[in-house]
Symmetry: D2
Subunit: 327 residues, 4 copies
């Protein structure tokens, strides 16, 4: 079988990182152009999600476009940076209306970048929207502001899709879009057709969800607009290489997508702090191809029959065999 | 200030327990009559939630009623046992339609007990509904069955309220009604006015929610039909004595109820495995009275002003002072 | 390759269970004789660890021995039940000296059962020794009692090995022997050659340890006297079927044993609440045989070279390939 | 009662921070001189722990000394930065012997800074020493290197104390000095009198330890050389303001220190990402003074009597009353 699957990655996969300890970074800083050139070295990568503004220099859309072209890459989404210093106390939910306006303007500009590149969506990851301490916020008001900010953008830009990437926490101690269900509640309340979910496997996993169940739920609401994968230790968003720790649940996640005929990009959202970023992407995609082959081998009918009985051992035997004989 | 608050408890607070290790139990078995007589010894308890069928013997509603009367107790809710052996693989979601029917019949009978006692609601805690293993269930089908089961009951019994008590897990590795948001999604889909949430403070806490935020959300959907409190270590449903570990978040929870003029019973859902059950209830209620006094002292306006700025230190200073000077 | 590995299981794997909700149990009660007959049906099981007193009836050592013989099973260890009702507030650390004495006498009798069956060890799992609440215990005194109780037994029975099975928690909110390091600290302080660790893979995993690291540490102290495996969701001792959720870490665990030439029984400690117990054991052992084959294929030298560079991708590629081509 | 307690803080409390998202930082960068001047504004701060090299400029010991003098501050410890870029794959355990040597030289120079300021200790926080992935490292070799690195320093500098600050994880997925017990095992193996523990309340809490128990254990080994406090949500090192979330366990921690006549600095290790740093320190110290007053009121004898019976409700009633009437 030759793969027909399109693979993608967040371009930050090919950046270097800082954290609160290694403030001098885990490597020399890279520009988005450097990162795109590294992404081009990954064996099977076709699309990327780009942070915006473009990092590491003052680059035009055209310059970025050239870099993408020479690496055979196209753009699946744009991620406006609404989690930098000015947004430290929130973007949509910032207590300062001026900052909320700034977030709105910032994302509105990012929407034009989506149009420029013909990408699929504006990705909203409002990681600074939430709270840290008990009593810090008026929860009703905060949640309303979370929805209002997204709703305004979606209604002003009906030609574009907006995807919300939820996460339980980090950098805030609690993030307002914290789970698949909360996000769906918000999206239903917003009530617009162009708002959906970008489901991050690792965020679901460490939020105590079953990522397969989260995917099914988002699909059943018609809101699964995108996805990415990685791995972690279930207690933090480690953004490790996909498949290295939880292969079975990753397989179940893709099984759920396939069963529902969900056809979209299989993306990576990994942070290889101490690894070679190209090797880390290749490693992940190698495993995702095992998953692809496993899905081809998988006896969907027998699996469904086992699931209809809630027969864990029977279902697992079918799934394990398909995956483990597909290396 | 004299307390006007009505206090309640799940009658199981006054039972003895078994677990998978101490299979001979943490004390001599007690009947529900014994438990009611113990509940009567708690200084400020007015109402109880009763498991049904009544445990420890073959008691009529009348016998139970007599025991309640002599202890000055009334019934706030009935909890049908849909998590015993026959329901080990689920009640609403059991793969066997016969068992699903049994659950329905069982709860239908419990509804009559609610009517008999003039209680507020049928409490649904489908703790066996969910899954243990990856690949074990068809997530879409399972969730649909979770909603259908509740919906059928609510539509057949429009005179009664049904409250769903969600919990992340236990005894299943994952419970289908796992969070406030998932439960609200389900309730909105069911679309009936008589289905709501029984919010357990500890379930919210160990699910990584802020219980205050969960309460606000349920209230904003008009679905907060009941509540109970306890405490835990945030990683399991320890059902410890309320206020002993997380007093600040407990205070924020009640602050949220008060701010929204939510007026209902303050209930205990504690499992004092190794403690004297009367002492454990008194200990909790003593702290809840501190909370009551703290709410009287609390400067709601100043607190709101601090929250409007997301001023954590300012808000906490107001809240800590009100609580800690109210002992 | 035909397997030379000896497989074992705790006999409770073949019992039925109760918990605090399904107080009528997850199936008809079984006697230890029933359980042994079920264990005999597992394809590759040779040894068992027996709870003592024998459950489900008044059986003599001889009766149990007959059942073992007819099923081709021998005894690897005896687990005295020091976590039942009388020990609810602790065995070695009970505040009542009479109960501490009782625990001592109880385990002393169990030691004779070890001698009778020629088993390898007395297994100590003091699951009720610990605390639930802040301020509940004098931590120094509690820990001293934990060590004294084990030390006295080990010094009085120098012909036998005593193994401590640590666990972070359950049924206590915190267990005194909570981790591999704490247990080794205690064992070193006890200072006797016949006290060691029974390392449960799942307990290490859910305690946030790397089970491979825990095994190496116990081996380096000369204290790894036994082991068992299962799986869980990292946040509780779910005692699920081994290999179903965390196959890579399970493989690393056995790699560590093999690398150190640790040769002992590969045991199961699973609680198949809702599964057929024979099928659950077969399922686990099937995977353990994949692990065995994987270890035969594994390039230990190349793996060591990758580890010497802390080369995660390189090491994982070697390990994943060996495991996933061994189904 | 007027306070006799000496209060301290890590000087990083008064810096600004970056993380992997807000790469432009949570505020304008500050030099260590700026930070010292802010520390001087805290009402009751006497001592600080200084990162070394001094951040934000090229400052001499003398320049730093002047800043300390004008703010009435002295130095309790020096924290060499062994977690910056060059040490991304470890300091003591780096696979590159050249980097291990660099770490050694770096800390050796920091030791001279300790001597210059007459501080109490060199603080070792080897946050990059550990692993991320299964199979990544040889666990035996890694742990040996962890001990060897500390041992060499301690034997070369017998006039100084070295304190190890353990933490479960971050920035590595798993840190080699991960818990109080593991660290004590290492210290005992190193076998030198001048190696001890700096116990961080929050690290213990989020590692699933009871900080009071951890303190007692370290004291019983004669190794509690320092401590600091903060708060978190039990699942990450949030470094929140002390006392805001877990006041009871904080009180138990200080009760344990007092009971053992441990007399040292009460330090803060907080990261007020979004708060005013002076206000955050004042808020914490205000609560610590409540704790001080609570300890004066606490009936140690009655508490010990309750603990001797493991009487949780009795012990908590005594503790809660002492704390909550001391605001």
């Amino acid at each position: 079988m030759s793969s027909n699957q399109v693979y993608g990655a967040g371009i930050w996969h090919f950046a270097t990182y800082v954290d609160r300890y290694a403030t001098d970074g885990y490597g020399e800083p890279r520009s988005i152009i450097d990162a795109i050139d590294l992404a081009g070295k990954v064996r099977d990568l076709s699309v990327v999600d780009l942070n915006w503004p473009f990092f590491g220099g003052d680059f035009t859309n055209e310059q970025v476009g050239e870099a993408l072209d020479r690496n055979g890459l196209s753009v699946v989404g744009i991620t406006p940076e609404i989690y930098s210093r000015v947004f430290a106390k929130g973007s949509f939910t910032n207590p300062d209306p001026g900052v909320r306006r700034l977030a709105h303007e910032h994302i509105t500009k990012a929407a034009d970048v989506v149009r420029h590149f013909g990408a699929d969506y504006v990705k909203l990851w409002p990681g600074q929207d939430g709270w840290d301490y008990p009593f810090q916020v008026d929860h009703g008001a905060l949640w309303k502001a979370s929805m209002d900010g997204v709703g305004q953008l979606a209604s002003e830009n009906p030609d574009l899709k907006f995807v919300i990437e939820y996460k339980p926490r980090e950098p805030r101690v609690h993030m307002s879009y914290d789970s698949v269900s909360r996000t769906l509640l918000g999206i239903e309340k917003i009530g617009l057709p162009n708002v959906g979910i970008l489901l991050d496997f690792g965020h679901a996993l460490y939020g105590g969800e079953s990522p397969a169940d989260s995917a099914q739920l988002a699909i059943d609401y018609g809101r699964l607009f995108g996805m990415d994968v990685n791995d972690n230790m279930r207690s933090w968003d480690d953004d490790m290489v996909a498949g290295t720790v939880h292969p079975i649940e990753l397989f179940e996640f893709f099984y759920t997508l396939r069963k529902n005929n969900w056809e979209g990009v299989w993306q990576l959202d990994q942070f290889p702090f101490r690894e070679d970023c190209v090797q880390a992407a290749d490693h992940a995609i190698d495993f995702l191809k095992t998953v692809e082959r496993g899905l081809e081998k998988l006896d969907f009918k027998a699996l469904q029959a086992a699931q209809d009985k809630h027969d864990a051992m029977g279902a697992l035997a079918i799934a394990q065999k398909a995956l483990y004989t597909s290396w």
